[in-house]
């Protein structure tokens, strides 16, 4: 009896002895059925399964429905809910405090593709090593249903009329901006979301996840490309993706030529099982072609679109001590007194 209880208790903890509850946040105040809640659940599940200690992470967001969500996961993780469109700069500075922490940022399509386009492009260009999730629903939720920059051309919304502009494609922008990890997924495909988050967490560099995350209140008509039903009907996965943690045996059986293995710098592996096509995510030109094709064919291409592990991260460009900068004490930060004369002598 006692053994049984112990066994059950043991089953509920991961390798670092934490329960799933240790990864949860406050109850969500987003709408029932919101795609963002599903993504939060997958962040929780991914971190739990990856055995990450929540204190070894740091989370960020900008402003909007999406940006509220970091409050709904990882309560034991430091976080900063910054300004609208300005999460990238906040994260860039904050992560220098302790570069051993794993960063995760959650933004939305307004926060990233409208007000935050500039900072988004620059965090990508600097290859700040963190997971950058865009919960993309094509609409402004908190201000009640205005078009966002990713809204479909011709989309009709109750109070707004018809959207006259072409949409911004976030995965495209990331790719053009030299992102080193670009993926697209769909909140209605939780398994893929979770595997992609795990893979992104192992990436050494910026990992942009453009996740179509339907807004059940303002933009979930069957005809819009950000709805559940459209996503379900039009999703075309590039591959069947699974993440294998470091030092774990690959248990999947596969035939030659059916699997592409991507070994990550931490020793983990992404296995990409071929579906309808041959797709190599290490080819940037191919990634662009696939994105262009999917836009033309009106389908939702999902999966790992591009990965490049050779580019240095922002932190690698600075010759920093291994110890976190925010733990350095005065004797290592203030030059010694005897240098003062040297400074004055350097003046004229």
């Amino acid at each position: 009896m006692t053994d049984q209880i112990l066994q059950t208790a043991r089953a509920q903890v991961n390798l670092v002895g934490l329960t799933k509850n240790d990864y949860r946040g406050n109850p969500s105040s987003l709408c029932q059925g919101c795609g963002h809640n599903s993504i939060s659940s997958q962040i929780i599940a991914a971190c739990y399964e990856l055995n990450i200690i929540p204190e070894n992470m740091i989370k960020f967001s900008g402003i909007g429905c999406s940006s509220k969500s970091p409050f709904y996961f990882l309560n034991r993780t430091f976080g900063f809910n910054g300004l609208h469109g300005r999460m990238p700069s906040l994260a860039t500075g904050a992560m220098f405090g302790d570069v051993s922490l794993k960063g995760i940022g959650v933004s939305g399509d307004g926060d990233t593709a409208s007000i935050g386009m500039g900072q988004f492009k620059h965090i990508v260009r600097r290859n700040v090593p963190m997971v950058y999730i865009v919960e993309n629903n094509g609409v402004y939720g908190l201000t009640k249903g205005q078009f966002s920059a990713t809204a479909d051309e011709g989309l009709e919304l109750k109070k707004q009329g018809t959207n006259p502009y072409l949409p911004v494609d976030i995965a495209w922008e990331a790719l053009v901006g030299h992102a080193t990890f670009v993926a697209r997924s769909f909140a209605g495909d939780p398994k893929q979301v979770k595997e992609l988050i795990k893979a992104a967490m192992s990436h050494k560099g910026i990992a942009v996840l453009d996740i179509i995350s339907p807004c059940v209140t303002f933009n979930n008509q069957d005809s819009t490309s950000h709805s559940y039903s459209w996503g379900k009907e039009h999703e075309v996965a590039l591959h069947d993706l699974s993440y294998v943690p470091p030092a774990e045996e690959i248990m999947v059986d596969y035939e030659d030529g059916q699997i592409i293995e991507v070994t990550m710098h931490d020793g983990s592996m992404i296995l990409l099982k071929k579906l309808d096509r041959d797709y190599d995510p290490k080819n940037r030109a191919e990634a662009m072609r696939v994105l262009e094709e999917s836009n033309k064919d009106c389908c939702l291409i999902t999966g790992l679109i591009y990965i490049n592990q050779s580019h240095p991260t922002l932190f690698e460009l600075y010759n920093l001590p291994d110890e976190p900068l925010n733990r350095l004490t005065e004797e290592r930060l203030r030059p010694p007194k005897e240098t003062m004369d040297k400074v004055n002598a350097m003046m004229f």
Binding site: G79, F80, A94, G118, N319
Partner: protein
């Protein structure tokens, strides 16, 4: 030619009284021609001769081809503010020649490039034509450096006529070219040739000369941006993000220059300070707020237009209680304004930066050495208070060379403020709340990312929050938090630099000022005192207003608040903060973009005082 010159200069005997170590030299040239090197060389040589000296660069917002003026003031008494009289002018720019010639004082001196063919209309000044083009040709210097070398011609000739020590000029060139022999030789060769030419061909007719002194003993020459950058590095700066903007750029560039020299980790030999050139000021301040949140000593440096862009993040930092330091090297606005002219016009924006109820701690360095001091001190204040500290310098400090006392090593250890690490949380069994006012001073305890104690983490935010950093729309949570922030900022006064007061017995009136104007006011006070005015002087070094300032204002019948902006921004703030003294505060504002002069202070003050009678 020389004979023609002497004949055409029937200067009155009165002006022939020797004038030693008390005049100014203004060089009028074209920007981008390298004249800055020549001007700095002359100024540094004078400084090394022991003569107090200052240099003011009045330059255009342009890379090449527009007029620029550099005024070196030489004053044995140490009065080194910008001066309005031009005793000696070196005219190198045909475009401004007439105006430059007309600006010379009676009995003054005009050195000019003899290829400038305007008629000389002045009979009352001494003229020294300089065969600049000929000498450059004769030097055989390669075509691409002829313009630069040309400026060394006037260094040699002016030095010869004014008796500037040639060895000191060589020393200045060595410093400027960082000991690189080739450029030193090239420039020195031209200076020497020009001086030798003057020996043979010019006869001194004017009254001006310099004489070695010892009045620069114990002083250095430096600019405010260099001082601020070094001060920050001695303050343990760990993270700076910036975006290029005149006149702040050199501050960040100086950080990059000195990090490898002074900020290698003694343990690992690696750098302990990060500098990022951001994509704009929105990102620069965002990075700095992030770094401040993570527990790094974080700073940005900018000027007015950049400060405007930083407003939103600074408001967030105030409300989420993140320590950051912002150096604003003020230039004249609004808008692009005059990017290369000085101002104190950002005070109102800086003090109230942000929407809603916001008020910030402001520091005003009043000398270059104080730029160094506030460079490190600002971090102690910001981290103690967990709030933005804005340091208001200006172009005059930032980009001009000042004679100043040597930088002094920080006289107290770093104050990292109320930070809880793992062992601290263990001691209190993890009982803490990010915004709980445990000590009653409005300053709460914070934890830093990377702290592994299980409940160390909190979620920082700009939205309403309770004492435990949870989202809250409760009216009393909001009100209590805002009132606590007010207590915190009010209480900051004890941490801030006190005003500097210079008293005269029996003075009923005063001057109140801040920043770079101090030097002109000091000079004016000497003259005014000679004319029988008894005036006290208070230099404000920080806001919010200290009780000493309030007492001082109350103790005088009239307080003239002198500042470099149209609206009298400090005057407005003092009226707000000392409401019982509104009638005792009178604004004297100087807003043409040029550094303040003693002459201006004297004439304005006398006019106002006469008006009182």
């Amino acid at each position: 030619m020389i004979i023609e010159k002497t004949d055409s200069s029937p200067v009155s005997a009165k002006s022939m009284e020797p004038v030693i170590n008390n005049f100014s030299i203004t060089v009028a040239s074209v920007n981008g021609s390298g004249s800055q090197t020549s001007n700095l060389t002359m100024m540094r040589a004078l400084f090394k001769m022991g003569i107090p000296v200052s240099g003011k660069n009045i330059f255009p917002s342009n890379i090449q081809g527009l007029p620029t003026w550099y005024t070196i003031r030489i004053n044995e008494e140490g009065h080194l503010a910008r001066c309005e009289d031009q005793e000696i002018v070196v005219a190198m720019n045909p475009a401004t020649f007439i105006k430059d010639m007309e600006g010379v004082v009676e009995g003054g001196v005009l050195f000019y490039d003899d290829s400038i063919k305007f008629p000389i209309s002045r009979q009352d000044i001494h003229l020294y034509p300089m065969p600049v083009k000929q000498m450059v040709r004769d030097s055989g210097a390669p075509a691409n450096i002829r313009d630069y070398i040309a400026n060394m011609v006037y260094v040699g000739i002016v030095a010869n006529i004014l008796k500037i020590d040639m060895d000191r000029i060589y020393q200045a060139l060595e410093y400027h070219f960082k000991g690189k022999q080739k450029p030193i030789d090239l420039n020195w060769g031209m200076v020497k040739n020009a001086s030798d030419w003057a020996d043979k061909n010019l006869q001194k007719t004017d009254a001006y000369s310099v004489r070695p002194s010892n009045k620069t003993d114990g002083f250095i020459m430096a600019d405010g941006n260099t001082a601020a950058a070094l001060g920050a590095l001695y303050g343990g700066l760990q993270f700076a993000a910036w975006y290029p903007i005149t006149p702040a750029t050199s501050l960040a560039e100086t950080l990059n220059e000195y990090i490898p020299v002074f900020r290698k980790d003694p343990v690992t030999g690696k750098n302990t300070c990060v500098v990022i050139q951001a994509e704009d000021e929105l990102a620069a301040i965002g990075m700095v707020v992030g770094a401040g949140f993570s527990g790094l000593r974080a700073m940005t440096s900018t000027s007015g237009p950049g400060l405007s862009l930083m407003v939103e993040y600074v408001g967030l930092a105030y409300f989420s209680e993140v320590p950051v330091v912002i150096w604003d090297i003020q230039r004249i606005g609004p808008s692009t304004g005059l990017p290369t002219r000085t101002s104190q016009g950002d005070l109102r924006l800086a003090y109230f930066m942000g929407h809603g109820d916001v008020r910030h701690v402001i520091l005003f360095p009043g000398s270059v050495t104080e730029c160094f001091e506030f460079g490190w001190k600002a971090f102690d204040i910001a981290e103690r208070l967990q709030t933005p500290v804005i340091v208001l310098s200006d172009l005059d400090f930032g980009m001009n060379q000042w004679m100043t006392t040597p930088f002094e090593y920080p006289d107290k250890p770093m104050d990292r403020g109320k930070v809880l690490w793992e062992e601290d949380l263990k001691k209190v069994n993890g009982k803490w709340g990010r915004y709980v006012d445990v000590d009653g001073d409005g300053i709460t305890y914070r934890t830093l990312p990377g702290n592994k104690y299980p409940n160390a983490a909190y979620f920082a935010r700009g939205t309403g929050h309770d004492e435990n950093a949870n989202y809250s729309e409760q009216p009393d949570d909001w009100e209590n938090n805002l009132l606590r922030l007010q207590r915190k900022i009010d209480g900051s006064i004890t941490l801030l630099p006190k005003p500097v007061i210079k008293s005269t017995s029996g003075a009923k009136i005063s001057i109140i000022s801040y920043g770079s104007t101090d030097i002109a006011i000091d000079e004016a006070l000497v003259t005014l005192s000679g004319q029988g005015y008894k005036i006290d002087h208070l230099r404000i070094r920080a806001l919010p207003t200290a009780p000493e300032v309030m007492e001082f204002v109350r103790a005088h019948e009239r307080n003239y608040v002198i500042e470099l902006n149209r609206d009298g921004q400090l005057h407005q703030i003092l009226r707000l903060e000392i409401p019982d003294c509104t009638m005792k505060l009178i604004s004297l504002s100087h807003l043409d973009g040029l550094p303040l002069t003693a002459q201006w202070v004297i004439s304005q003050l006398i006019a106002k005082e006469e008006g009182q009678k």
